[in-house]
Amino acid sequence: MSKRIEVNDLNVYYSSFLAVEGVSLEIEPRTVTAFIGPSGCGKSTFLRTLNRMHEVIPGARVQGEVLIDGNNLYDSAVDPVLVRRQVGMVFQRPNPFPTMSIKENVLAGVRLNNKRMSKADADDLVEKSLQGANLWNEVKDRLDRPGSGLSGGQQQRLCIARTIAVSPEVILMDEPCSALDPISTLAIEDLIEELKQEYTIVIVTHNMQQASRVSDKTAFFNIAGTGKPGKLIEYDDTTTMFSNPSVKATEDYVSGRFG
């Protein structure tokens, strides 16, 4: 299921503005990788290049290579839609579709692609995905109620269920817990731990404890100043990053002495 991601010397531009410069890293399958760094340093921008979501913003483009199991995402013949089916994404703010019920939200990835599915298969997929997102017990009695009626933490887990329902190889999470309370955050973190068995997970977070709790490897991004491009400063095992980083800036940031 899960796949290996390799990034070679990637530059990301918004029109003529260089947002992220010269990123090279490798992400192993079935691991959790955390991106940390100050706001505006290009973590989210870089994350969105991993499933070509940044192209949604007018003027955004990249130079360099992103390889998933050796296949370049940015080959001119690659359809971004097919990339996104393999690399799912969970956003900062929970965004269930307001016109759909809980069940329809989970099935959205399948139904919106005009795929036919028998009712039994659909019910199985809904149950499997919601259980995968630790939400089944809370919503099994109200699958036909609107998804927007759930609490924030439940909505975020619904979005995760929606993402895993299309069985991607990689799941990208852009600050998935920043709008949630500690208990919902814990639920999501436990979920990340379980999802790791099957998927490659990349998570952007501002919460240092979260990065050290859930991730196997950590990448620290930084920015020299406003208007300068963000750069990958250091990328290593999480334990090394938080106990004995090799770059001074990383040590300052993880120990809270930054800025």
Binding site: P58, M89, N95, F97, T99, L112, N113, R162
Partner: protein, 366 residues
């Protein structure tokens, strides 16, 4: 007045129940002041009327009464309650006055139309045409059918064109072309309706090589020219309201752009789009000038949009009033009844739009 009897601050020694309530005008002061001001002004004008031997001027007494009220309540409030509350009362008074003034013509129009329209608002009016009618009797069935057909066809033309234009502008449009289209749509919004009628007439006169062409479909084309910019603008605003997060959520699930628009963006905004379409219908259903030119007028039924003249309700009202026969009152009554019918059709469309919008709008589930 009772206002002045309650002092702004309790004298020293008297226990104050709640110091936060100090310095407030008693409840209903505004109402008493308003009644008082109008009463005083009425008295003044009554004395003028007696002295000059003229009629009592009710409009002037109410108007000057309100003006006096605005001044008195401001001064009173400033003295007792302080400048912040005084500004609040002043602006409240002005807003309420503006609202009342805006409402007066509306009530007047509704009242006049109902009173004058009811005498001929009968079954005959809705079951007969004006064919061979030269006195009392007759009806507007031909005009009602014509209005529904012409406006319905105009909607059929305008909604796809307008909605697809709005989707282009919001979802796909970039750079100069987008700005040019937005600009020309705005210009089209301001086209005088008679120009739209002349455009349709010129178009079909040239195509058919018939300088006297009159038919219902031409009217539909003229109305679409007026309707399309309204549909584009309202749909565009509604599509812009759909959060980008929803589009991104769909893209991240591997849904192509066109399916995202069709199955996520449109269902989310459909309630507002339908409301906008209904407003645009209400905008054109009462158009007279373009229909007079291209659809013409007739006294007979015509169910065929593509041949012969077709009567519509606004033109019916106009012709009944403009060409009164020997029995003048019969024609005027029919004109009022036609106007009443038109207003009721628009009101009915708005009610339907509300129901539809309610049914389709996203549910919160709480």
């Amino acid at each position: 007045m009772s206002v002045l009897t309650s002092p702004p601050k309790s004298p020293v020694g008297t226990p104050v129940a709640n110091s936060l309530t100090a310095g407030k005008l008693p409840r209903y002061t505004a109402v008493y002041v308003l009644i008082g001001c109008i009463a005083v002004m009425s008295l003044v004008f009554a004395m003028i009327a007696v002295a000059a031997g003229s009629d009592f001027n009710i409009v002037a007494s109410v108007f000057l009464g309100v003006v006096a009220y605005v001044v008195v309540i401001w001064v009173l409030s400033r003295a007792v309650e302080g400048p912040r509350k005084a500004s609040d009362r002043l602006v409240t008074a002005l807003v309420a006055t503006a609202f009342t003034i805006a409402l007066l013509p509306l009530i007047s129009v509704a009242y006049t139309t109902i009173v004058n329209g009811l005498p001929r608002f009968d079954i005959q009016f809705f079951s007969e045409s004006m064919r061979n009618v030269v006195g009392p009797g007759g009806g507007a069935l031909h005009a009602i059918v014509g209005t529904l057909l012409v406006t319905g066809m105009a909607t059929l033309i305008s909604v796809p064109v307008g909605l697809l234009t709005a989707i282009y502008l919001v979802e796909y449009g970039r750079g100069r072309l987008k700005h040019a289209i937005t600009f020309f749509v705005d210009v089209m919004t301001g086209i005088p309706s008679i120009v739209a009628g002349l455009f349709a007439f010129a178009l079909f006169a040239l195509i058919t090589d018939d300088p006297g062409i009159r038919f219902g479909f031409g009217g539909s084309v003229a109305l679409s020219v007026l309707m399309i910019p309204v549909v584009v603008r309202s749909s565009e605003e509604m599509l812009k309201l759909v959060p980008n997060e929803l589009r991104e959520a769909a893209y991240a699930l591997g849904v192509p752009k066109w399916l995202t628009i069709l199955k996520v963006v449109l269902p989310t905004s459909i309630a507002g789009i339908i409301t906008g379409i209904m407003i645009s219908i209400a905008r054109v259903i009462g158009e007279t000038a373009p229909l007079l030119i291209i659809a013409g007028f007739t006294t007979s039924m015509n169910y065929n949009l593509f041949a012969e003249r077709m009567m519509t309700l606004p033109v019916f009202v106009y012709t009944q009033y403009a060409n009164q026969g020997a029995d003048t009152q019969a024609y005027i009554d029919r004109a009022w009844a036609g106007a009443l019918t038109l207003i009721l059709i628009v009101a009915l469309l708005n009610v339907i739009a509300r129901i539809v919008a309610k049914v389709f709008s996203p549910k919160t589930g709480r």
